[in-house]
């Protein structure tokens, strides 16, 4: 999968692993936080993505722990994964900057900067 076709879900899974290794449910919670509750990863989606990312060398299993009799396998972002994520983030930031500049030129107020979205002609 090339960087341009990587989905938002996969982007957020990789982002969730930047600061520390996490187990499956930890990834689900972190992705929920990062997306401000907008995205809820389902078990099939998460493990399908983890299998693919592992096979691409972007993510690797880190360690296994057992808590309250439940197996928790932790995943970490690999160096390759960090590089790919950085490239994706840069591409998205560039796209966002271009869109922002054009919206400002059109006179659209952006949320979080000068107020609510409005003023559309």
């Amino acid at each position: 999968m090339n960087s341009s076709s990587r989905t938002e879900q996969v982007f957020l899974i990789l982002t969730a692993l930047v600061d520390q290794p996490r187990h499956g449910y930890g990834i689900v919670q972190e992705v929920g936080r990062l997306s401000q509750g907008r995205m809820e990863l389902k078990v099939g989606t998460l493990y399908g993505a983890l299998d693919r990312l592992t096979s691409e060398g972007l993510v690797a299993p880190d360690r296994d722990e057992v808590e309250s009799g439940r197996l928790r396998r932790y995943y970490r972002l690999t160096e390759n994964g960090a590089e790919q994520l950085a490239a994706d983030a840069q591409r998205l930031a560039d796209n966002a900057r271009i869109a922002t500049e054009r919206l400002r030129a059109r006179g659209v107020a952006l949320p979080g900067s000068t107020g609510i979205v409005g003023g559309l002609v």
């Binding site: 187990h23 998460l46 493990y47 693919r52 592992t54 439940r70 197996l71």
Partner: protein
Amino acid sequence: MNSSSTVNSPNTVDMLESRYRRLLTLLPNSYRERRAEEMLGMLLDGAAEGRRWPRAVEVASLTGLAVRLRTGAVGGSLRAAAFGEVLQRFALAGLMIQTLYFASSLGEIVAASQTGMFPGWSGLGLLPILMVGCATALPAAALVCLVRGRSRTGRVLAVLSALLTCAEIGDSLASAGPLAFIFPAQLVLSMLAPLAISLVAATAALLGFHRDAPPAAAPGRWLRILAVSVPFVLACMTAAQFLDDHGRDSGMWVGAVAHVIVSPIVPAVAVMFGVSRVGRPVIWSTSLLLLSVPVMAVAIPLASLLIDHMSLQNLVLGPGLLGGSLIEVAWEAIVTQLILAIACWSAIRHDPRPPLSTPGLAGSA
């Protein structure tokens, strides 16, 4: 989490765990051995207190994963990966055949509307031509999308194409007029092939090009075959109508050749690639074996029916059409048989070693 009246009792947790375990048996054995405990932990971590049954979205999500793992997703078995590749090639070959089938109809209908070969066809409006044009373009577009990695669009187009084929064939049967009474079995059989192929190609596209599937193999080859064969079939059919309109029986021969191209040529070319690539013969063999079944199911009874009706056809349609049809059907049957024979030979001769590797977690945990 709420800890008053809905506190998880050991009994509630055990019931939920046991139901999750039962749900996880949907997954393929090898995957379950590697992942089931980890997934169970995740599901139980995310379960609300007091819950006794898995949620519907969890059931749907795990069912989807189980299907994807059995049809080529990374993490599935080697056999599943091979099956996924068979589904992909089956879908692409089916879409190719659909495209060529309707391209031949398009050439025929356009030429007939110009030359007035059949009464009633010369006055054809734009609508039927547009319909057949769409029926040609849809599977072609689906094929292009699938091989270029636009799986979601490709799957939608493949389904739309199958629906349009159903509508087209229903319309053709309804408008067959007196021919439907003279040759009802022939008409039904000759229309069953594109119908069956469109339906199974759409199903194979849905199953083989899911979001976790690997990209299609050799995309450039599919596009090159499409780019060459569609204009060829269109040209053959148009030439056939033109020649026939000028009173020459050879027109039917050209038409017969074009029809021969329509169904068996794609798998025939494909099997050559398959046999030449020793590492991957089983994929092609299985794809072609599956693909040849609907074609054979139609070609062989159609041939016998044509022979049975020889004298009647001769009377009604003329010797040119009879000769063309017989040659066409004979060719279709022979080529299909040949494909089947090569596929079987190839499957027996070579070690069925699946080509795809499916890296998992083994050794890295």
